[in-house]
């Protein structure tokens, strides 16, 4: 059996050690790295020629306190499992990424964010405590803002390099319905996008937009703005776990090209324009996890794999966003899943966390030399704008770019466990 990351790039080989029970101690004869469900896109969850500690079987709940909403569970529990158990009881994830096939430990190690960043911050803001297993000495430490606090903040967004998280306590969010009331609004340019973001920041917990990377005839980027809140209709329905729709094999590498992406974007835009409206009721599953409906959708990029690129640009440099789109246009390299969102003011707690106040853009491109060149150009723009790129999605940034984005890295290394390493770490060191 082999393990890869969600972008199927780079290709690596590693020993797999499945953890069925919390280990008594960690192996140290080879470098080790925890691996959840491999929903990171690049190489930060890979450890070429080393060992991966597979945590998906550490999936037991430990305790739930209905008075505070604090759920204590092993680190391999998935967000999907939490939803299936707790939505019927009126609880939801405090923050959720765009897929529910993510582990609790993986969500901590990337300090993931969701559509409610402007309202509640990152995943790490809702982590009460975790236990961390380290190798020298072999020990298990309890980490929270009062105990081993530095290690706590280094491990939030710590890329699995500070030790193995065995269990964690996360504070769930009380809901009055499993359904979302959403508005879908089309916008014709980035100006309108910013206006919608600003006006939606107060009254809406969830905000996100899809944007067409290809400029229209007026040289503008159109898109669709989604915003919403949980309903309060006391309906508590979970999604049906299904594996019906899936991409069964890798599609040929040429499937996605400027032409098909343009066609897709046109179709996507028109479909949503048709459906656009306000106060539309939808399930949490289709609102938060539209991509989960098609299993292995990553295979449409072909066997070569694909790059995901997510950056954030501080709001006072937001003109740089236009430059990014211009550069993408110049390269005729459209991305059909382009997501745009404004991160709010809440400061990330993790030492290496990605979110900072600003506008974040996520794109994906097939792995090929042209994309590599384009992404290097985008890095130039992001560096100049004093933004940063999300490590969870990266497979190619240079050491120079990395250090510009994360100058705190040297300080972070103090907390790294000596036995832990990753393909990402070696690439940028």
């Amino acid at each position: 059996m082999t393990k890869s990351s969600w972008g199927h790039y780079p290709k690596t080989t590693q020993n797999l050690q499945f953890l069925h029970w919390p280990p008594k101690q960690l192996p140290t004869h080879q470098t080790i790295l925890p691996y959840g469900l491999g929903r990171s896109y690049g190489d930060s969850c890979l450890n070429d020629q080393g060992t991966l500690l597979i945590t998906e079987k550490l999936n037991r709940f430990i305790d739930f306190d209905p008075s505070s909403g604090v759920l204590h569970s092993e680190a391999g529990v998935t967000l999907e499992d939490i939803l299936l158990q707790f939505v019927p009881r009126g609880w939801f994830l405090p923050v959720t990424p765009g897929t529910k096939f993510v582990t609790l430990g993986g969500a901590i190690a990337n300090d993931v964010h969701g559509k409610n960043h402007h309202a509640v911050g990152n995943w790490g803001h809702h982590i009460v405590e975790f236990t961390l297993m380290r190798t020298s000495p072999q020990e298990i430490l309890t980490c929270n803002p009062h105990q081993n606090a530095e290690l706590f903040y280094a491990t939030l967004g710590g890329l699995g390099l500070t030790g193995l998280i065995l269990s964690a306590k996360v504070k769930l969010k009380k809901i009055q319905s499993s359904q979302i009331k959403q508005d879908m609004i089309t916008f014709n340019n980035l100006h309108e996008f910013y206006r919608l973001s600003e006006e939606s920041c107060e009254g809406f917990e969830f905000n996100v937009a899809w944007v067409d990377c290809f400029k229209n005839s007026k040289q503008e980027n159109r898109g669709i703005f989604f915003r919403g809140n949980f309903d309060d209709n006391q309906i508590f329905e979970t999604h049906k776990p299904s594996r019906l729709l899936q991409v069964p094999f890798f599609l040929p590498n040429q499937t996605l090209n400027a032409f098909t992406v343009k066609a897709f974007n046109e179709l996507y835009f028109q479909m949503h324009r048709f459906k656009a409206g306000t106060n539309l009721t939808t399930s949490y599953n289709s609102f938060f996890y539209p991509l989960d409906a098609i299993h292995h959708w990553n295979k449409i990029y072909g066997i070569q794999g694909f790059y995901q690129y997510q950056c954030v640009i501080p709001l006072d440099n937001k003109a740089a966003l236009q430059d990014l789109f211009q550069e993408i246009s110049n390269f005729q390299q459209g991305s059909f899943l382009a997501v745009l969102k404004v991160f709010g003011r809440i400061k990330s707690l993790g030492m290496m966390s990605f979110p900072v106040e600003g506008v974040t853009l996520a794109l994906d491109f097939p792995v090929n030399p042209k994309s590599t060149e384009l992404l290097n150009r985008l890095d130039e723009i992001v560096m100049k704008a004093k933004g940063r790129v999300y490590i969870a999605k990266d497979a190619r940034m240079s050491q120079k770019a990395f250090l510009a984005y994360y100058p705190q890295f040297q300080n972070f290394l103090k907390y790294k466990d000596p036995a832990f390493s990753s393909s990402f770490l070696r690439r940028i060191s």
Partner: protein, 248 residues
């Protein structure tokens, strides 16, 4: 709400079975296994998932003289058994067991003798209760002895035969007996094998298993179903071919 007794509760398949059984119900569990710490983890998990009462008992099941007391205690706690799952077992190291009678006995005891004596105790109780389902995890390895695991396979064949008789005995008492013949399942027992398309996840087995219990099925079942046909072919292979198939 069901009262469920699990023997060998730390098994990956048994864990998945317990979780699955809580899908639409709040059951009571009595979990027997040999690792107290692991039993505790499982019990906590089942409680969060909606189990009412979960009792645990740590015991090595190869200590036969304890069996009667173990089952007695379980009955005192649960009062009656709606479902019983016998899930313990070891694969053992065939090659080294061939020259080591201690290891051979360990494989046979874990997969057959201990199960037989425990089932005797359970059958006595359930005969009196007059209802319930007993399921035992056997294996396709018992259908024909193979070079790579015939000691294990013979014990599985023995328990399968034992169960076919027990089924007849308990028929009058309205107790169903399920023999579950599984193919390759991805669990700690098979951690060292590389996995291919014939492999199944414990969660998939658990789903089918719970539905067999819910529907009070009686008899021998292959899980997943296609193993019935694979084993049909394997059983029918003439010896002069079968004997040459080293990879089995």
């Amino acid at each position: 709400m069901k009262k469920i007794l699990i023997i060998g509760a730390t098994s990956a398949i048994a864990q998945a079975f317990c979780k699955r059984s809580l899908h639409n119900a709040q059951n009571d569990f009595y979990l027997i296994g040999r690792n107290a710490e692991q039993l505790e983890l499982i019990a906590n998990d089942l409680k969060v998932r909606g189990a009412q009462n979960v009792f645990v008992e740590a015991a090595d099941l190869n200590t036969f003289e304890q069996h009667e007391k173990l089952i007695e205690k379980a009955q005192n706690c649960l009062k009656n058994f709606d479902w019983v799952l016998v899930a313990h077992g070891v694969l053992g190291d065939q090659k080294s067991a061939e020259h080591n009678s201690h290891q051979t006995l360990e494989i046979i005891h874990s997969n057959y003798t201990s199960q037989a004596t425990l089932l005797n105790c359970i059958a006595d109780k359930m005969e009196k209760m007059g209802s319930g389902v007993i399921g035992v995890l056997s294996s396709v390895a018992g259908d024909r002895g193979r070079r790579s695991n015939y000691i294990y396979g013979s014990a599985k064949a023995a328990i399968t035969t034992f169960l076919s008789g027990l089924r007849v005995r308990l028929f009058k008492s309205n107790v169903q007996v399920l023999t579950i013949k599984m193919g390759f399942v991805d669990t700690p027992m098979t951690a060292q094998f590389s996995k291919g398309p014939l492999w199944t996840k414990p969660e998939t087995i658990a789903m089918e298993l719970v539905s067999l219990f819910e529907n009070k099925k009686n008899g021998e079942y292959y899980l997943p179903f296609f193993w019935r046909y694979i084993m049909l072919v394997i059983r029918l292979l003439p010896s002069f071919i079968f004997n040459k198939m080293n990879f089995l």
